[in-house]
Amino acid sequence: MDSAIAQKTWELENNILTVETPDPSSDSIFYYDEAAQAKFQQEKPWANDPHYFKRVKISALALLKMVVHARSGGTIEVMGLMQGKTDGDAIIVMDAFALPVEGTETRVNAQADAYEYMVDYSQTNKQAGRLENVVGWYHSHPGYGCWLSGIDVSTQMLNQQFQEPFLAVVIDPTRTVSAGKVEIGAFRTYPEGYKPPDDPISEYQTIPLNKIEDFGVHCKQYYALDITYFKSSLDCHLLDLLWNKYWVNTLSSSPLLGNGDYVAGQISDLAEKLEQAENQLAHSRIGPLGPPRKKLAKITRDSAKITVEQVHGLMSQVIKDILFNSVRQSSRSQNDQSGPEPMIET
């Protein structure tokens, strides 16, 4: 069947590893083996290899909690801690909880209040049966992408000295909603003075002009880890059934309305970048052909990204309009083809 071939092609293109539907026996990832974890802590295999941890596995629950918390902060950065364990070269994040601090980028350490909260929360959790330790921290960058700023890098370096194993996760809730997919990144910093052997190709992301310097200065001091997600068999089952109820929300969601000002911000940022690129082009007539061309190419990619998101949003709106509004229209004119025409004509 055509659709089967199409699906296979799509899966191949995207390296989709079909995770076998977890059955109850494979929920072993949820088991916390205290002895094994303690032994791992003693061994400290990461002390010798700065690139030791390569993968992160995030549970469905942790992801949901982090994204909801990040989104609830609106345009304010929020932060929280993640609990989990390690497994060879992977860090497993089982749960996350929010911290009552307002993350302004000028603060390196959480205040004493937050420390108290952390200790209290960990204690109550242990009593309630969640035995994992704190294994990382997460915070949000609403609207400006998943990367570590200068403050974040110094915080993480400190953490990696005293609280190993530790992981930094950044979530962008605004881009998540606008793009329709989760924007998340997991990072670990290199120790001071360490030069990574090769430059890993990281996925390109648009950074607003006012943050681009901060990004550029520090982007070589940390590396990104691969993120995969897992869920329990019960989660799988429940999520499948959940679809029966909230397909309504999928249809009724309208990303255009929610993210209007974000898109406007993106476009004005793009305009500024264009001006900068233009100035650069004007100044370097005989000079090297490198930078201005690359700048313009980047701007083109950014504008393409904004457009694609807008078009997706508009597509949903048009589909909904055709579905629910064209009742009278279709009965009136049988020969009128539905499409852009009804929109432009009155």
Binding site: E13, Y31, Y117, K231, S233, I267
Partner: protein, 315 residues
């Protein structure tokens, strides 16, 4: 003991709560049944696994606005079923912690896992009544039944009924809807279908987006088909006429077309034109960038300042 509730409250449940409860249950279950270390002990543990299905307890928190109760989050409780004692200091501590981070949320009730509400649950219910005078009881059935179509989550309220002359509190079932914010929906979707998380090409993004909408429309279609089938049956006389249902269907039909005002059309057109404008600008940027590259390449190929001078082609 379950009949339909008459309190008139509407309940909205967030998917986060469901995933929370499921995670709590899976955690406790896997700690009780450690994974078999060798394959030979697997069969022995397999038999035991069937019997160890622990009940977990916890609190649900959220917001109540007027008659709408929205359940946002949940956390665990320590409860000893043998002595019927609720760990009060623990509850207080947890409440404080959650108040700091989510100042708007109140304790709305409690949850538990199991297949049906039991008599002993009334004890916890009464215990929570001093925090919230009418708590909810959310019950999740963790048994995985592949033929099940409905979400195994039920919400119970307590009502005072006079049975055998003695006023007693019994549980009554209430209906609920699933409510979600955009970010929650995207992450649930992401985890449920394991969509490609990185950029991919524009084509795959488009495919993913359209697939989502397509599945939703397919659901809508199948539901309408069911209704249609039912109505045809009623018309033929196979099924007894039910007037309340007919009224609901008729009111639903009368709501179409959804919006048909001048203002809506204007706004919609404006949005449409805005998107077209953005596409136009992006196209423009793309063209100028390509043009720029072309000019650069031309300059490299026909370099005027080369030693040979003039218009020799670059070989």
């Amino acid at each position: 003991m379950a009949s339909s509730s008459s309190s008139g409250l509407t309940f909205k449940l967030h998917p986060l709560v469901i995933v929370n409860i499921s995670d709590h249950y899976t955690r406790v279950k896997s700690q009780l049944n450690p994974p078999p270390l060798t394959s030979t002990s697997a069969t022995v543990n397999g038999v035991e696994n069937q019997q160890q299905a622990p009940r977990v307890y916890g609190c649900v928190i959220g917001v109540q606005r007027g008659r709408t109760v929205e359940i946002f989050n949940s956390f665990e409780l320590l409860y000893d079923p043998s002595t019927h004692s609720l760990d009060r200091p623990f509850l207080k501590k947890k409440q404080e912690l959650y108040k700091k981070v989510f100042p708007h949320f109140y304790i709305l009730g409690w949850y538990s896992t199991g297949s049906d509400a039991q008599e002993s649950d009334m004890h916890i219910h009464r215990a929570l009544m001093d925090i919230n005078e009418s708590p909810l009881y959310v019950l999740l059935n963790p048994a995985i039944n592949p033929t099940q179509k409905d979400l195994p989550v039920t919400i119970y309220e307590s009502e005072l009924h006079v049975i055998d002359g003695i006023p007693q509190l019994i549980f009554v079932r209430s209906s609920y809807t699933i409510e979600t914010v955009e970010a929650e929906r995207i992450s649930v979707d992401h985890v449920a279908h394991l969509k490609p998380s990185d950029g991919g090409s524009a084509a795959t993004q488009l495919a993913a987006h359209l697939t989502g909408i397509h599945s939703a429309i397919k659901m809508l279609n199948s539901r309408i088909r069911v209704l249609h089938h039912y109505l045809v049956g009623m018309q033929k006389g196979d099924i007894p006429c039910e007037n309340s249902l007919l009224r609901q269907v008729s009111s639903l039909l009368r709501r179409l077309p959804a919006i048909e005002s001048e203002k809506f059309q204007d706004d919609f057109l404006m949005e449409y034109n805005d998107t077209l404008l953005i596409t136009y600008l992006a196209m423009f940027t793309n063209c100028s960038s390509t043009m720029n590259e072309l000019v650069d390449k031309f300059n490299t190929a026909y370099d005027r300042h080369s030693r040979r001078g003039g218009r020799t082609a670059f070989i």
